[in-house]
């Protein structure tokens, strides 16, 4: 699965964008979005997904169940 950002909760603080090891996060239509094709759930890079760890609003960067879990 890839992570996704719940747009209605996002504060546009930009913190996740700079941390993403896959450059999967970008600004679009007043919020930030994760490109599911690039997201690796940070597997192989870090112990925890960076966007989840830095996000100031709980339950905003969440797993997108529309995609299968990422396999390294």
């Amino acid at each position: 699965m890839a992570y996704k950002i719940v747009g209605s909760q996002c504060t546009n603080c930009t913190a996740c964008e700079a941390l993403c090891p896959n450059l999967a996060i970008s600004e679009a239509k007043g919020t930030f979005v994760i490109d599911p094709a690039k997201c690796t759930e940070c597997i192989g890079h870090f112990d925890t997904p960076q966007c989840v760890a830095i996000c100031p609003v709980d339950e905003t960067c969440v797993l997108d169940t529309a995609y299968p879990r990422y396999v390294a």
């Binding site: 603080c13 930009t14 913190a15 700079a18 941390l19 870090f46 925890t48 760890a53 830095i54 100031p56």
Partner: protein
């Protein structure tokens, strides 16, 4: 994106700018005896000290900085540019989701700017407000969690407006990694928010920090944060960069502990300590707001500031600005300088005009100090008596505001040693959780209830009698005169009346520190 966020990629490079820490500490120590303005007795140290009170190089740094000098804040303006939205820690008094254009508190901002937009905005404001001398980056997140944007902004501004002082305000977590970069851009004022030096206390204030690519919580998080903050402070002191420490007073959590914080930062060379009241209303959506954590009363805050004062400079004129505030402390003209308006503005940066204006301000300041000195004789009658008075002012150290127009009152403590600025009280109309406005006059009386008198340029008949009924004397005969001089003249008259048996002196009660959002931007 070139931001190497939160990585220890910046090793400590050259020591060219380093100065001997012992030398700096010595200068700080010499400075701490301040408050003897030509024999006037103790003033609010440092924050209101004048050129006689400190080494020339420190005076040159603080004299035009409204946050670092209480004296300066009557005359000079600052602006914040909101180029730093990301943050690397979470505080229980902050909720980044809440953003209201009518609200004035830290961490809140309406527009996010690019470094280029920020630079244009600084020029636009500096051209419109000649007393704007300081540019700060304070968020709405943490400047050092956005180092690329923060330092690019400083670089652009130092190219186009080299006379403007640069400062930043940080939580300190990333500070040790960036001290040399801060020195490189000649940022000579740095504020660190330090709410604790004991992780046992800190775990109740900080739910988490982002550290080495992980979210850490509880004691462990607070321990790293305090270590980084104190290391960063020491590194600033070594480089001769003035450090101000902000602390949020949270009753029951860190209130008495802040005395220990005060000692710790003092011993590491901090220039100024600013203890601020917690702002927590439920509608802000912060953890503290939702938990019903209260802020301190006016007298609780003042008592803690007095306890910490000793030989440390205490800042008492902080207005807890928004991250995009513009203007004199206590006013916010940011609505005049939105991105759309700035981009449409023809900007002509007039260095000579700004210099001339600032020279006139200097002359005005000196006149004010001279006027105060003349009134220092004859205060012996006061004995141990200390009392507070409120002043309606629009700035310049003059009683020049109508009672009914005042959005805040400045508070002076009068005693045998003179008139000392000890704080301010906001009295704007506030929205209280959406329940509408309460009676404006009642709001004012609650906010200055611990004062014996209120000095105004003008006041109507009705509020006058209501104030008198509440035991606060309305004083309007010193309209458009210097605050401190007038307050001392009134005080001597008050003492004479007691001596003559015309009045009986009694103590006043406590006052409320207003919480919640501003309703009226500008009247």
């Amino acid at each position: 994106m070139t931001e190497a966020m939160f990585e220890d990629s910046h090793s400590n490079g050259s020591d060219d700018s380093a100065v001997d820490i012992a030398d700096v500490m010595q200068k700080m120590a010499e400075h701490k005896g301040c408050g003897t303005e030509g024999g006037s007795g103790k003033a609010s140290c440092g924050s209101s000290g004048g050129p006689e009170d400190m080494p020339t190089e420190i005076w040159e740094k603080v004299k035009n900085h409204p946050c670092y000098s209480e004296e300066a804040h009557h005359h000079y303006a600052r602006m914040h540019v909101a180029v730093a939205p990301a943050c690397n820690i979470q505080c229980n008094y902050c909720n980044r989701k809440y953003d209201c254009a009518n609200e004035s508190r830290p961490g809140v901002v309406s527009e996010r700017l690019t470094p280029e937009q920020a630079s244009k905005k600084v020029l636009a404001v500096a051209s419109t407000i000649p007393q704007m001398t300081v540019l700060g980056i304070a968020g709405p997140g943490d400047p050092l969690a956005n180092p690329g944007k923060t330092f690019e902004t400083f670089r652009l501004i130092s190219e186009v407006a080299p006379d403007i002082k640069l400062c930043l305000s940080t939580n300190g977590l990333a500070l040790p990694d960036w001290v040399d970069e801060i020195a490189k851009y000649k940022v000579d004022h740095v504020t660190i928010t330090i709410n604790m030096i004991d992780p046992e206390v800190g775990q109740h204030i900080y739910p988490w920090i982002f550290w080495e690519n992980k979210r850490l919580q509880g004691y462990e998080a607070a321990k790293i944060l305090t270590e980084r903050q104190l290391l960063g402070l020491e590194m600033l002191t070594e480089r001769g960069i003035l450090a101000k420490i902000n602390s949020v007073m949270i009753p029951g959590i860190n209130d008495r502990h802040l005395i220990e914080v005060n000692k710790a930062v003092k011993s590491r060379g901090a220039f100024l300590h600013n203890i601020m009241p917690l702002i927590s209303a439920p509608e802000h959506g912060t953890v503290f707001g939702l938990n019903g954590q209260r802020g301190p009363t006016a007298q609780e805050l003042k008592a803690l500031q007095d306890d910490c004062e000793g030989d440390m400079n205490m800042m008492r004129h902080c207005r807890q600005c928004r991250a995009d505030a513009v203007g004199l402390l206590g006013e916010d003209r940011s609505a005049e300088f939105t991105t759309d308006k700035i981009m449409a503005m023809e900007v002509n940066y007039d260095s000579a005009g700004r210099k001339a204006y600032q020279e006139a301000v200097e002359a005005e300041r000196q006149a004010k100090v001279a006027a105060k000195k003349d009134e220092l004789d004859g205060l012996e009658l006061a004995g141990d008596m200390k009392l507070l008075v409120a002043v309606a002012t629009k700035g310049h150290g003059i009683i020049n505001e109508h009672f009914g127009h005042a959005k805040e009152f400045q508070i002076y403590e009068l005693s045998q040693t003179g008139a000392k600025f000890v704080g301010h009280r906001r009295v704007d109309l506030y929205c209280q959780g959406g329940y509408g406005e309460e009676d404006a006059l009642d709001t004012v009386i609650k906010a200055i209830n611990d004062c014996h008198a209120v000095f105004v340029a003008k006041i109507g008949g009705c509020p006058k009698s209501d104030l008198q009924a509440a035991g606060i004397e309305p004083v309007d005969q010193y309209a458009h005169e210097f605050i401190e001089k007038s307050a001392l003249v009134w005080f001597k008259d008050y003492l004479a009346k007691i001596e003559a048996g015309e009045i009986v002196h009694s103590d006043r009660g406590d006052a409320a520190i207003r919480q919640g959002a501003l309703l009226s931007q500008a009247s």
